[in-house]
Amino acid sequence: MAYFKKSPWIIHYDATSCNGCDIEVLAALTPLYDVERFGIINTGNPKHADIFLVTGAVNEQNKMVVKNIYDQMPEPKAVIAVGICACSGGIFRECYNVLGGPDSVIPVDIYVPGCAARPEAIIDGVVQALGILEKKHLARKEARKQHDRIAAN
């Protein structure tokens, strides 16, 4: 039995968001939306997190930060790009310091549109990511089994 669906812990990083999506991510934690109903906790620590919420596009200085955080997360993990900037660069697409969405640095699993993405949309995105987490977990398990089988022979 996998419990990824019941206890997704998130980490949030503000790449170059305008704060609009950031505060909506925070708002999702607060009483009106209360994502803890789904077991979601905002851990703030990549090593505890399952889901990486990136808001905003990636720029020259923070691409290594995004990469570092992603690398430090344990498998299975999912990345959600929250907001138009994170999906495509949005209105800042043409800025000289914007390299594009986080998918230019790390693999992104779910794109949540919206400017700013509404808390409901963020919840929807996380729910979709849960399925991906579960799939990744099963794939990992299978890979490990195979690995063990090969090792045993």
Partner: protein, 359 residues
């Protein structure tokens, strides 16, 4: 003992959702030195004026910051209007004022929540944001957006609100004021909160002035400076008295913001009483040619837009000086000597908006 602890604080840090980086040099739990680094969120949107025409740039200006969105857009528009000598209709001015004050309430409530979170008072954070959602509902209902209002345009506003609805909102605010008071009283009176706020990060009046602090940070150090006194939008008809506090510490800044929430409610109610009927926008023809410094009072303090047009549809130069940028030197001045535990609340008392700062 020359060795000291170095704590890289941010850019990814749960207390400060925004990517500000500080190298904290710490001894025991006392911060000896703090070296800031910004640029994690720099997009370079001032240069976008070369690609977007001056009308379109409003959308960019509104997205400089998702919290002060409304006033950013408004300041930009006011600057352009000033260059183009446009006389914006009265109703638009009043609506700008009303939304501006709403964004102040929402921003301050948001700040109160984050501040509570910074000193580890989770339930206070939750309750602050619970009430903030009610303000957001009003905002969404009248503007169509929760955080990005999208109401500004050069020459007026993009939406109207009926007078009846404005009256209802005015009444509604009265009941919300009671709820807000229930929460803000905790900030002002609870001893465990006071222990974290009083005497922390004291900024003297002279330092505040010398280091160029603005907004609540400056007013908490006893300087009565408020850009709304300039009388832009409807502030000519609705005079505002700056709220000041003499203590200059985190508690003082908290007091100033809390009082401003109630002041903002009062301003909205007065504006609703006085709002004239009429059109909400005017036709804009031609292109801006000239330059102007637009200054307004954001929730975080004074924001300055320098706008220069050269008679084409693209502006020649656009420059923003945001309040957080002005406040950073002041907060760095008071950080040495405080403890690590105070860092979050100290940074938060300038109500940092790194997104504005780095644009």
């Amino acid at each position: 003992m020359s060795k000291r602890t170095i704590i890289p604080f941010g850019p990814q840090h749960p207390v400060l959702p925004e990517p500000l980086h500080l190298d904290l040099v710490v001894e025991d739990e006392i911060v000896v030195e703090a070296v800031p680094s910004i640029g994690f969120i720099h997009r370079g949107l001032e240069k976008l004026v070369e690609k977007k025409d001056f009308n379109e740039f409003v959308y960019v200006a509104e997205r400089i910051c998702g919290i002060c969105s409304c006033i950013h857009g408004m300041t930009y528009c006011q600057g352009v209007e000033e260059i183009m000598n446009l006389q914006v209709p009265g109703r638009a001015k009043y609506l700008r004022t009303i939304w501006g004050e709403f964004s102040r309430i929402h921003s301050h409530l948001l700040w109160l929540g984050l501040a509570a979170d910074a000193f580890g008072f989770e339930s206070l954070f939750m309750h602050s944001w619970r009430i903030r959602e009610k303000i957001l509902d009003i905002i969404e209902e009248t503007t169509g957006g929760r955080v990005i209002f999208g109401t500004s345009k050069v020459g007026g506003v993009r939406r109207d609100v009926t007078n009846e609805r404005l009256k209802e909102i005015s009444v509604l605010l009265k009941t919300y004021a009671g709820e807000i008071k229930e929460v803000t009283d905790i900030f002002l009176n609870d001893n465990s909160v006071k222990h974290r706020l009083c005497g922390v990060g004291v900024l003297s009046k002279d330092d505040a002035l010398m280091l160029g602090a603005v907004g609540p940070m400056l007013r908490a150090s006893g300087v009565a400076q408020d850009m709304r006194k300039l009388g832009y939008a409807a502030y000519n008809d609705i005079p505002v008295e700056p709220i000041i506090d003499q203590s200059g510490d985190c508690y003082g800044r908290c007091v100033v913001r809390i009082k401003e929430v109630f002041q903002a409610i009062d301003i909205i109610q007065r504006a609703v009483d006085k709002i004239p009927d009429g059109p909400i926008d005017m036709k804009v023809t031609g292109f801006p040619n000239g330059e102007f410094f637009a200054r307004t009072e954001q929730p975080r303090g004074e924001v300055i837009y320098y706008i220069r047009g050269n008679g084409t549809k693209h502006l020649q130069r656009m420059r923003v000086r945001t309040p957080t940028f002005a406040n950073l030197p002041a907060i760095l001045k008071v950080i040495p000597g405080c403890s690590v535990a105070d860092i979050p609340i100290l940074l938060l008392t300038i109500d940092p908006c790194i997104s504005c700062t780095e644009r």
